[in-house]
């Protein structure tokens, strides 16, 4: 079982990210669980959401305290929230940022941190700074926990009846999946 914690700000769609990962896992034939950390839903406030992905039945419903992977949708959170809290040894943190991970203070010894500019990809291809879809492409590219086709199916499902929007989101996902796949090859050890 792999556990993922997603950090975002209210309105960025961290909960949607967690759900898209779960739906994609389902399309890969896995069991999944996605749920928000139940806090106050204010725009801009730090929020968290969780996803569990497993080949077998998931026998827990506690929140995720020791994630294998952490996804950060807004790099400014790294200054106020300990995004590495509880992360498993050799865990991976993926941050949406144009900065280097070290500049964000993510230089822990037990984990790897990667930054990827999801905002830019979204602005280029969707025309709006929606990062909660693109990030799943980066996640899957780096970790290979989910297949690209499963991600695309998850997007089609979420944007049912909005083929054009779905296609733009899939473009971002494909771009980041491939970019991160190249990084993943040399740096991520499974």
């Amino acid at each position: 079982m792999k556990e993922i914690r997603i950090h975002g700000r209210g309105g960025q769609g961290a909960v949607t990210t967690s759900q898209l990962l779960a739906i994609a896992a389902f399309h890969d034939g896995k069991r999944a669980q996605a749920f928000p950390a139940f806090g106050v839903e204010r725009r801009g406030a730090p929020v968290q959401a969780f996803t569990r992905i497993s080949e077998t039945e998931i026998k827990t419903r506690q929140q995720v305290y020791e994630p294998d992977y952490v996804i950060v949708l807004d790099a400014s959170l790294c200054a106020s929230v300990d995004v590495a809290e509880g992360i498993k040894k050799k865990g991976l943190i993926i941050v949406n940022s144009d900065k280097d991970a070290k500049e964000l203070g993510l230089n822990g010894k037990n984990y790897t941190a990667h930054t990827i500019n999801v905002t830019k990809a979204a602005l280029d291809l969707i025309g709006k700074p929606f990062v909660n879809t693109g990030i799943i492409g980066a996640f899957a590219g780096l970790t290979k926990e989910l297949s690209l086709s499963a991600l695309e199916k998850a997007i089609d499902e979420r944007f049912e009846g909005k083929a054009e929007v779905a296609e733009k989101n899939k473009q971002v996902i494909r771009l980041l999946y491939n970019q991160c796949g190249e990084i993943g090859k040399c740096k991520i050890k499974k």
Binding site: S18, Q19, A22, I23, A25, F26, R31, A32, Q33, A34, F35, P36, F38, I58, K59, T60, R61, Q62, Q63, Y65, E157
Partner: protein, 381 residues
């Protein structure tokens, strides 16, 4: 059809499959996802049903009386203070022997204001003549909603059913579900055909005053119906299992690794999922642990618990509820049910998860080990 959905949406899918005709709704967090999804079904023509936008939960419950008396299968959903506002109507629905089905997305009762999960709302209503079933997963929430109509409408039952899911901790969790085909559900659950309904051609009176010379007979009949319902719940679970391949224990109680268990965690709802990993972990450390999940709080599965408890050394009862001034309601019920046993296990009763406090694997392991040390329970903060 297999997909990933929230438990709340899973219940809405079930309501659609049951061909419910009237849905008086007053949204309240965390049950709101249910009327939201049902509104979509009505709006896009997937459901041929009347959604009544009532002005309060009191009216939602009241409208169900009218709609069921007219012979329409009916549904509503609520939580917390919404259920509290319905309270006046709850015993009227059960006393009139109306097979209503209501989903409760369990939430704490205010004050202090809190929108998250515990069982204060539905457990406070457990004495009002409603059957209470508590689901552990989104799949079970869906399946239980379908079974609920089958149970409620059984000829020797005719009692309302609450289908309870942990608010947020289950209602808002997206997970794998398998939605049955409409045709299959139709075979399991025939159309609602009440023996008595309002009909201008054949006038009947429902709910007249009953004097002291016969009131107790009405209550005794209700109690007998409750006793009958235990069999109907077991049968619905079995028949459903045969048709759809999914069963939840014997319908009243579900267990995990209890065959040779000496120590058990006993609880309701989603904390039982987490208990499963705790049991696995303890078993790996040579502790003979198991889990007992009370799926049905009313009627209370006394005999089942007696049978299970006979072989146990300790039980850790985890209540997501407290009857202020005494203890958790489940603890009281369990101790009462086991009082007749000659050899009783040591019972440690814990209060946990109030107002959405996460119930962790650590909490549950601690609770079970407290019992093993013969130490009394307490608050799992």
């Amino acid at each position: 059809m297999r997909k990933v959905e929230s438990a709340a949406a899973a219940i809405a899918e079930a309501v659609k499959l049951c061909d419910v005709k009237v849905m008086p709704m007053y949204p309240i967090t965390p049950s709101t996802l249910i009327p939201e999804r049902l509104s979509e079904f009505v709006n896009n023509g997937e459901m041929d049903a009347e959604m009544i936008h009532v002005e309060s939960e009191h009216s939602a419950a009241s409208a169900m009386i009218g709609s069921i008396l007219c012979g329409a299968r009916s549904f509503t959903a609520t939580a917390s203070q919404g259920l509290a506002l319905m309270f006046e109507i709850l015993p009227i629905i059960s006393g009139l022997r109306l097979p209503a089905v209501m989903a409760v997305a369990n939430r704490s009762l205010s004050a202090p204001l809190n929108i998250w999960n515990d069982h204060s709302d539905s457990v406070s209503a457990r004495d009002q003549g409603w059957i209470q079933l508590y689901a552990e997963s989104a799949q079970e929430a869906l399946d239980t909603t379908i079974q609920a109509y089958k149970i409620a409408e059984s000829g020797n039952v005719l009692l309302p059913v609450m289908v309870c899911i942990d608010g947020f901790t289950l209602s808002h969790v997206y997970e794998n579900i398998d939605v049955p085909e409409r045709g299959e559900v139709d075979k399991f659950l025939p159309a609602f055909a009440p023996e008595y309904a309002l009909d201008p051609e054949k006038p009947l009176t429902f709910g007249p005053i009953v004097f002291p010379d016969s009131f107790m007979e009405f209550k005794k009949a209700q109690e007998e119906a409750m006793e009958n319902s235990a069999k109907a719940i077991a049968k619905a679970n079995n028949d459903f299992g045969k048709m759809f391949g999914r069963k939840y224990g014997n319908g009243l109680v579900e267990t995990y690794r209890m065959d040779d268990a000496e120590h058990a965690i006993l609880g309701i709802g989603t904390l039982c999922t987490t208990s499963r990993s705790v049991v696995d972990k303890l078993r790996a450390n040579k502790i003979k642990a198991g889990m007992i999940r009370v799926r049905c709080l009313r009627p209370f599965p006394k005999e089942d618990l007696q049978k299970l408890a006979k072989k146990l050394k300790t039980i850790a009862v985890i209540d997501r509820h407290i009857s202020l001034g005494f203890e958790g309601a489940l603890a009281t019920d369990v101790k009462s049910a086991l009082s007749e046993l000659r050899k009783k296990p040591f019972i440690a009763c814990h209060i946990a998860g109030l107002g959405g406090r996460d119930i962790t694997e650590k909490h549950l392991e601690f609770a079970l080990k407290q019992g093993m040390r013969k130490k009394a329970g307490g608050w799992l903060l």
